[in-house]
């Protein structure tokens, strides 16, 4: 069997359904093998979009996303997508063509050192120089991408290896002696944690993306309800705990809720599950949960005590460890007074925004209407900036894998292609990309992709004529000197129509719901251009480097 066929056959063995990508000289044999394969290929209009689509597919389905690109510029265009997936622990396998082995290192046409370039942004990468290694490499790539702390894996495949011949034997299992993730918590640590939990008076659970990756949402709910402890979920953890549960505190950190941030600050026990204490969550480290003992559950030992000092580290898989804790904690803490105090703050400092009939459309209002009209069942991707934070604050995520957004890397241009991946992976769900007028222009060419395959992504552009989040920082910290942030935008409705995609402009609040209803009902992609209040800000806000209970807005 030819190398290219071995590649495709291996992907089939890994139950790959979709491949996102873009052809080129060094992947011609692979594309030839793809021509008749029982795999669905989605041609994006830029390789970056292929990587993001694979990522969106992976986040929304829990399966490994696959993208393919040619050597040199094709591969380098994947980089932002791979780095995005790496930061947020998303399992993708990226296949890149490479110049033929005899030319590697000779500065050949469309040559780039892809394994070199991707080394710091992949969980692992391979350069397959020998056809005999190909099947095993693909097997390992999927295994590494999806186990332990997931992440992207790159397989760089020279064009001559794609046309060599060998017998196809797909390995039954993977054996990498140096890779043995820990899945169960150390019993001694579990016992210690249980003791702390029983004695706590003001406990808080902080749940991160690890809960979703592990599929631990049910265990988290059971655990939190059993020990009657409030839960805050990080940005990537949104959906790991039902937003409509009375124990839910919303998001912590820079744009978190007042009650989440003050609860953390006053807590005497912080139970972190699958969260890596990003600086956007912690703010000023010395003032983060100053009186709390910290239990840190994470599958990646390097996450523990990296940013904050931890009292009880537990390395392992969130679902298993929560089950172990449920089993072990026999005395439950008395949290009645604590919950009452938090309840009082929830009433006093809810997330909000001001509305008036004469004002322009408020972005928060748009998101609330999307939530209501989709009954909270939609998959929501976002771009990066204000649109992203408003989506995180005002869409209530009751289920995991419904919020698809670049948290760690903060990649503008992510949302639209990620929504494409989410939509093909979830044909039964409505998929919205909540976009800004800046971000959407970073991958707007993908309108051609959604049209070609009739992928029914609804793009809701919150159009304020600015790079809004940067403008907000300039307003607050740079004396309103709007350097580089005003945008001279195209007519998005005309742009959409130019691609053959339905476009709707919405200028008044009363038209928001009807437009959304039309978009949802329409069986195809739609671009909604919401002209929103230009200088609306995301509040509350913790200025970078401040303590998280020092918030601007939200406590007025």
């Amino acid at each position: 069997m030819k190398g290219s066929q071995i590649l495709i056959e291996s992907l089939i063995r890994e139950n790959v359904e979709y491949i996102f990508g873009y052809p080129g000289g060094s992947v011609l044999p692979a594309f030839d093998a793809l021509y008749e394969a029982p795999l669905k290929f989605i041609l994006t209009r830029h390789e970056q979009a292929a990587a993001h689509a694979a990522d969106g597919y992976a986040r929304s389905t829990g399966k490994v996303g696959v993208c393919i690109a040619t050597s040199g510029p094709g591969a380098t265009n994947l980089i932002t997508g791979i780095a995005t997936a790496y930061m947020d622990s998303v399992p993708i396998v990226a296949i890149t063509g490479q110049v033929k082995t005899s030319l590697i290192g000779n500065d050949a046409f469309q040559e780039a050192d892809v394994t070199g370039i991707t080394r710091p942004i992949t969980k692992y990468n391979y350069l397959v120089k020998d056809i005999e290694d190909l099947a095993r490499t693909i097997k390992e790539a999927f295994y590494l991408a999806s186990t332990g702390r997931p992440g992207p894996v790159v397989v760089d495949l020279p064009v001559d290896v794609q046309i060599q011949d060998t017998d196809f034997v797909y390995p039954e299992e993977v054996n990498i002696r140096s890779y043995r993730p820990t899945y169960y918590g150390h019993p001694g640590q579990i016992k210690k944690a249980a003791k702390f939990i029983s004695k706590a008076k003001r406990p808080v659970i902080i749940a991160g993306g690890g809960v979703i990756i592990s599929g631990a949402e049910h265990k988290l709910k059971e655990f939190a309800e059993r020990i009657n402890t409030p839960v805050t979920t990080t940005f990537l953890g949104l959906g790991s705990f039902p937003a409509d549960n009375p124990l839910f505190l919303g998001m912590p950190g820079m744009h978190g809720t007042v009650y989440a941030n003050t609860a953390i600050t006053e807590s005497d026990l912080l139970i972190s599950v699958g969260c890596r204490f990003d600086d956007r969550v912690t703010g000023k480290l010395e003032a983060f949960a100053p009186s709390a003992k910290i239990i840190h559950i994470d599958i990646d030992p390097t996450s523990i005590s990296k940013n904050i000092k931890v009292d009880i580290p537990i390395v392992g898989d969130a679902k298993n460890i929560l089950a172990q804790l449920i089993e072990t904690v026999k005395t439950f803490p008395d949290t009645k007074a604590w919950l009452k105090e938090i309840g009082r703050r929830k009433e006093k400092y809810p997330l909000g925004y001001s509305r008036s009939a004469r004002a322009k459309i408020k972005p928060q209002y748009v998101i609330e209407q999307i939530y209501e009209l989709t009954k909270g069942e939609a998959v929501i991707s976002t771009e990066v900036g204000q649109n992203q934070m408003w989506a995180a604050q005002f869409y209530k995520f009751n289920y995991p894998r419904r919020f698809i957004s670049s948290g760690g890397l903060g990649t503008m241009g992510y949302g639209f292609p990620a929504a494409i991946g989410a939509a093909v992976g979830n044909p039964d769900k409505i998929v919205f990309d909540i976009a800004g007028d800046g971000s959407i222009q970073m991958n707007i060419q993908e309108l051609a992709t959604v049209l070609t395959y009739n992928i029914p992504v609804k793009v809701a552009i919150l159009n304020n004529g600015y790079l809004g989040m940067v403008r907000q920082w300039q307003e607050l910290f740079y004396k309103r000197r709007y350097s580089g942030t005003p945008l001279n935008n195209p007519d998005f409705v005309k742009v959409a129509r130019g691609f053959g995609v339905k476009g709707i402009r919405v200028e008044k609040e009363k038209d928001v719901r009807p437009a959304l209803k039309t978009a949802i009902k329409y069986k195809g992609p739609v671009v909604l251009d919401f002209l929103i209040e230009e200088e609306e800000n995301v509040f509350p806000m913790v200025p970078a480097g401040e303590a998280i209970n020092h918030m601007i807005g939200g406590m007025a």
């Binding site: 394994t115 710091p120 350069l127 140096s178 890779y179 990646d300 030992p301 390097t302 000092k309």
Partner: protein, 157 residues
């Protein structure tokens, strides 16, 4: 503080690059790094001397090394008893007037004199960091023109 860390790694293409890029990406300082095949030819041993600012950074270095797929085990030798050795080659261009100085230094040199002629001396020295430092002090007045060392290798006892 200096720490000697030993990593057993898969003996294959690209592993050294992974280790060194980990150190540079995270801003850790490597003092020396020595790599070689072990008794098991599929395994290489890397002995890394790092200058870790504090315990927290050292912990991170060890964990990050362990996280690399190709790293089999990581041992912090600093906390154990171990023997550390380094090979050093020193070249001296001997000026005429230094001949009698060399005669007095020579008996104190605990190494192999590989070349010794009228105007050139090459010495091979093996020892721990402290020993090599002392030998350098002895040789310095003669005029060292070249000095190369392998970086420390070590073995736990």
């Amino acid at each position: 503080m200096k720490h000697t860390i030993q990593a057993l790694v898969e003996n294959k293409f690209g592993v050294l690059a992974r280790i060194s890029s980990l150190f540079s990406a995270r801003g850790y300082n490597i003092d020396s790094l020595a790599v070689g095949e072990t008794y098991d030819p599929t395994v290489s041993c890397m002995t890394i001397v790092v200058n870790a600012g504090d315990e927290k950074i050292l912990e991170q270095i060890k964990k990050q090394l362990n996280k690399l797929i190709d790293v089999i085990t990581v041992i912090d030798l600093t906390k154990r008893e171990y023997i550390g050795r380094e090979l050093m080659l020193v070249k001296i261009n001997l000026a005429k007037e230094s001949n009698h100085l060399w005669a007095s230094v020579k008996p104190k040199i605990r190494g192999n004199i590989l070349i010794e002629d009228k105007n050139k001396i090459v010495i091979e020295l093996v020892g721990d960091t402290h020993f090599l430092k002392e030998q350098i002090v002895l040789l310095k007045p003669l005029g060292i023109v070249e000095l190369v060392r392998t970086g420390k290798i070590a073995i736990a006892v």
